[in-house]
């Protein structure tokens, strides 16, 4: 007979694991990936593959040769970072090498310098994305023209995102709300289709990986705030629904603000976090230098997450 195992109670465990959570997030990102491939063609697939492979590779190299700790690439967290990074860049050929730099920054600076998974204060994919946006402003805002589903030709004619166009004073009248919802608009490859993102988010909610608090408060705040602005002056400010479906609000609210590591734990804290993200996003979009503010908003709120955690405690049973 084997030796008896001894431990303190409890002696059973739910079948949850970090690995399962990460791979489920990856599953949830698949609809958005498929839409990106459908609209942007083979470029989207290649950029995604390069981003994922380089993220995993950098994590492996850093763990193996610099930190000299057991490698944890199988837990799927680097894959999530890679996919999210790819989703935040335009699907253009030049991205195929730029995204490698982004992966190095995301994994190397965004994650491993703090000690790896679970210890990073900022969402690694957003760190990579913001680094690229500042370092390669031209390439990062060169959007491929969306040319019907499954485009067969890849010219470098560039279009504008609805947000950029609006910033310059002209929202193309040809962009309808329905297009924006389905993703038939310009933009970073993962953020175009609100529908695909919502499908993934619904899956995550069902699997209890995310709760509704952050996405709803984020999107709700953005909607209400932009609606107020729009009601004040419909000419200067964007339609609130259009605001939600263009740019990265959906992707950010459902996948990046909800990142477990960098968001608050208590439900009340998550609501504060979501509201903060929503407010900052609309402020940056309307009065900031960039047409898009989701990444900055989330990173800023990431930085106050420890404070929110300190302040928002769960309701004690005994009080």
């Amino acid at each position: 007979m084997n030796l008896l195992n001894i431990s303190g109670s409890p002696h059973v465990h739910s079948d949850e694991s970090t690995k399962k959570i990460m791979w489920r997030v990856n599953m949830a990102l698949i609809p958005a990936l498929l839409v990106a491939i459908a609209y942007f063609g083979i470029n989207a697939l290649l950029v995604s593959i390069i981003a994922v492979v380089s993220c995993v590779l950098f994590q492996w190299l850093i763990e193996k040769f610099i930190l000299k700790v057991p490698t944890t690439i199988c837990d799927g967290s680097a894959v999530v970072t890679g996919l999210l990074l790819a989703f935040n860049v335009p699907a253009t050929p030049s991205m195929m090498w730029i995204v490698i730099i982004g992966a190095l920054v995301a994994i190397g600076i965004g994650k491993m310098t703090f000690g790896g998974l679970g210890k990073n204060p900022f969402n690694p994919a957003l760190v990579g994305r913001v680094f690229l946006l500042i370092s390669f402003p031209v390439q990062m805002t060169t959007w491929p023209v969306v040319d019907g589903i499954f485009p067969m030709h890849f010219d470098l004619a560039t279009g504008a995102t609805p947000l950029a166009a609006f910033k310059e004073g002209s929202l193309g009248s040809d962009v309808t709300l329905w297009d924006a919802f389905l993703g038939h608009i310009g933009g970073s490859m993962g953020e175009v289709s609100a529908l695909a993102i919502l499908i993934g988010a619904a899956y995550l909610c069902w699997k209890k990986i995310i709760s509704w608090h952050i996405p709803v408060s984020f999107i709700g705040t953005a909607f209400i705030f932009s609606a107020i602005l729009w009601l004040v002056n419909p000419d200067q400010y964007m339609d609130p629904l259009m605001t939600l479906f263009t740019g990265g609000i959906m992707l950010g609210a459902c996948f990046m603000a909800t990142d477990m590591v960098t968001s608050p734990m208590a439900k009340s804290g998550q609501l504060i976090f979501g509201v903060g993200c929503g407010l900052l996003t609309i402020i940056i979009r309307n009065w900031g230098a960039y047409p898009e503010g989701v990444s900055f908003a989330i990173l800023l709120m990431n930085s106050v997450t420890p404070l929110i955690n300190r302040w928002c405690k769960p309701a004690r049973f005994a009080e």
Partner: protein, 311 residues
Amino acid sequence: MTQQILIAVMVLGIIGAFFAVVLYYVAQKFKVVEDPLIDEVAEVLPGANCGGCGKAGCRAFAEACVAQGNLEGLRCAPGGDAVAAKIAQLLGCAVEQGEPQVAVVRCNPANCRIVAADSTSVVISDNRRSNYDGLRSCAFENTVYTGESGCHFGCLGCGDCVAACQFDAIHMGPDGVPVVDEEKCTACGACAKACPRRIIELRNKGRMNRRVFVSCVNKEKGAVAMKSCANACIGCGKCAKVCPVEAITIADNLSYIDYKKCIACRKCVLECPTHAIHYANFPAPPVKPAPKPEAPAADGASAAKQDSAQA
């Protein structure tokens, strides 16, 4: 252009001056008056904050020294006599010299090592009775059960002592019992405090670092103790009988050698039926001076025993 530069300089200058005044005022208002002697004493301390003195850290120790005005009952173990002398000089008081000490782990590595019945060979075997699967903490494992070896007094092997050591002087040995690095050990006593079973004891280093000690703290009756570990002290008292200086006492089925009295003759080592008495830093195994000198153990056994004794 010049005007702009001037404005900038003026604005910054005014802000700077304002904050300088505020800072000066605050510094005066909340000034903490402290005996400068505390700083001087803290300066000569090792600064490892090991807590061996029983204070929160080196600074707290310095405060205690200055408050008390002498070194009675206060000793910095890592610093030893040298530091004590320096502090005494600063405080202007006398200091008593202490015997240098070292941490000694009093558990046979019986988890894995059993001396065979004829005491001629050392059998290496995994003698675990169970597999501990919980939090790697001795303090916690101690509350769960007896431990992997089955001895309720023995080493649990999770390394709380290793974690407690500020001087990198104690490490887990290959047989699951910690090993003290005598060079690095400062006898601060942090490991002894961390051990939930009080296995580690501070003992005098002894002449030429030679020490003899009972490497067991099992207080159970002989038969019960033997069931848990073949090398347990069974409290038979043979060692006490042969000791020429009455350094050995038996209490609660356990033998204890008073390091202040022990002359390191090693007569007890030869007597012990369970090989629970270990010795450290002797050049050769002890030899029975009896009419017919007969080696008590083969070289292998003795060497191995000394190895573990050096632990």
